[in-house]
């Protein structure tokens, strides 16, 4: 996987096509994984939309690789939330399946997890609340720091640290209890 440095970001900001390609190669798999973990319906298509928005605003961005990574995942997070909300307002039409009608689905996002590629992981994450789940996803999949995660979520670093702590403790409880098996 390509490494993203400040010099590459500066070249991409200047409009060099090779540098822009490096940016896409370095970040698009993580964005796709994040969108998949969020249960987005069309993760590949939404990844392209995220980078369309990012590349259009790239010349006006300031900072280096860390700032660009934060911005990319901010856009991805916002698009994922929009996708989940859109689906919750207009759920996709599908034939009725009685076995899935448990009537305990908390949200469209949780329902989307059931369609994910790795249902086991998704089932584990579904046991966390939304904030805890997002923190873990951004830190593990997006490889963001505490500060970057806080910037994406619009929260303080301390709040993100507390969310991360509770998420890890919850995951450990779930594993120890045997409720999830990976």
């Amino acid at each position: 996987m390509a490494e993203l440095g400040d010099d590459v970001v500066a070249a991409a900001r200047a409009g060099r096509a090779d540098a822009v390609g490096v940016v896409y190669t370095a970040l698009s798999p993580k964005v796709l994984g994040y969108l998949r973990s969020r249960g987005v319906e069309d993760a590949e298509g939404l990844t392209s939309e995220v980078f369309l928005q990012v590349l259009k605003r790239l010349p006006n961005l300031r900072g280096g690789a860390a700032e660009l990574r934060t911005f990319v995942f901010s856009v991805a997070h916002a698009r994922a939330v929009d996708d989940i909300r859109r689906r919750s307002r207009r759920p996709a039409e599908s034939p009725y399946e009685p076995e899935r009608d448990d009537r305990v689905t908390a949200s469209a996002e949780v329902a989307a997890f059931e369609d994910a590629d790795n249902p086991d992981v998704v089932n584990v994450l579904a046991r966390l609340n939304d904030d805890q789940r997002t923190v873990v996803q951004l830190r593990v999949i997006g490889d963001l720091s505490l500060e970057q995660t806080a910037a994406v979520l619009g929260r303080s670093t301390g709040a993100v640290k507390q969310l991360q702590r509770r998420a890890l403790l919850q995951l450990r409880t779930l594993v120890e209890s045997g409720e999830v098996a990976l």
């Binding site: 996987m1 200047a14 973990s37 392209s48 369309l52 640290k161 702590r165 450990r172 594993v175």
Partner: protein, 256 residues
């Protein structure tokens, strides 16, 4: 490189012993990240081939509007200064500025004429002589050209010649014009003062232009100093007084 679990545990003040339980979960989560780069959409592929060029510098509209406003205000100020229509202080400032730094100069503001407020009418006020020479002077008095009319008007552009004229030039009590018909008697300090004791042959100066006759002069006008004190400077346009002869019958002040 994903964030190591040990780092997350340290940040959360949790024991590293938890890593054994949590590592499988986080590894499964990392497996959601594909190894290959996802295929971009056609629109994104076109953008990747030809990225957005950095926007060239363009002055913003606000800067343009501010510059236009500044140029406009400077132009208006210059036109007003050239026409000497600015307020006095502003005109002086612009004129000084142009004389120092510009190749041309704006006119200096017109200096205001010295304000000469007329004295309020009092008993000491000298009456005005009649304008016509046919009418006899009602009383011997120091006739000073129109007291009320002598109030200097407000400064106007181009009035400097008249405004600068000192009151002593409009009424020349100390420097009478020599007239063959009415020679000033020798020894008279001022021709504007008529002394009734001298007689009817004494000339009485009266302005040729306007002025009302005030027959009441209660004070003794015979003292030249007194008359001179009552003189009111005039800035009227008729600096040359006319000389009239006092009728022989007028001996008592205030009559006639």
């Amino acid at each position: 490189m994903s964030t190591p679990l040990s780092q997350m545990l340290e940040e959360s003040d949790l024991s590293l012993d938890l890593s054994a339980d949590l590592e499988p979960v986080l590894s499964a989560l990392r497996s959601l990240v594909p190894e290959a780069t996802p295929e971009p959409s056609p629109q994104l592929a076109a953008l990747l081939a030809r990225p957005v060029a950095p926007r060239a510098y363009r002055p913003r509209r606000t800067a343009i509007a501010a510059a236009a406003a500044m140029v406009g205000s400077l132009t208006l100020t210059g036109v007003a200064a050239a026409a000497n229509q600015l307020p006095e202080s502003a005109q002086r400032f612009v004129s000084d500025l142009s004389s120092r730094y510009l190749p041309f100069e704006f006119p200096q503001p017109v200096e205001p004429a010295p304000t000469m407020e007329p004295k309020p009418p009092s008993e000491d006020e000298a009456p005005l002589a009649p304008a016509t020479t046919d009418q006899p002077a009602p009383e011997p008095s120091a006739t000073i050209e129109g007291t009320e009319d002598a109030k200097p008007e407000k400064k106007r552009s181009g009035d400097r010649s008249t405004s600068d004229a000192s009151p002593s030039t409009s009424v020349s009590p100390t420097e009478p014009e020599p007239s063959p018909s009415a020679p000033a008697p020798s020894g008279t300090p001022s021709p504007s003062v008529t002394e009734p004791e001298v007689g009817a042959d004494e000339p009485v100066e009266s302005p040729s232009a306007g002025g009302t006759t005030s027959p009441s002069a209660s004070e003794d006008p015979t003292t030249p100093g007194h008359a001179r004190e009552n003189e009111t400077p005039s800035t009227s346009d008729s600096p040359t007084p006319t000389v009239t002869e006092r009728p022989s019958g007028s001996t008592s002040p205030g009559t006639g």
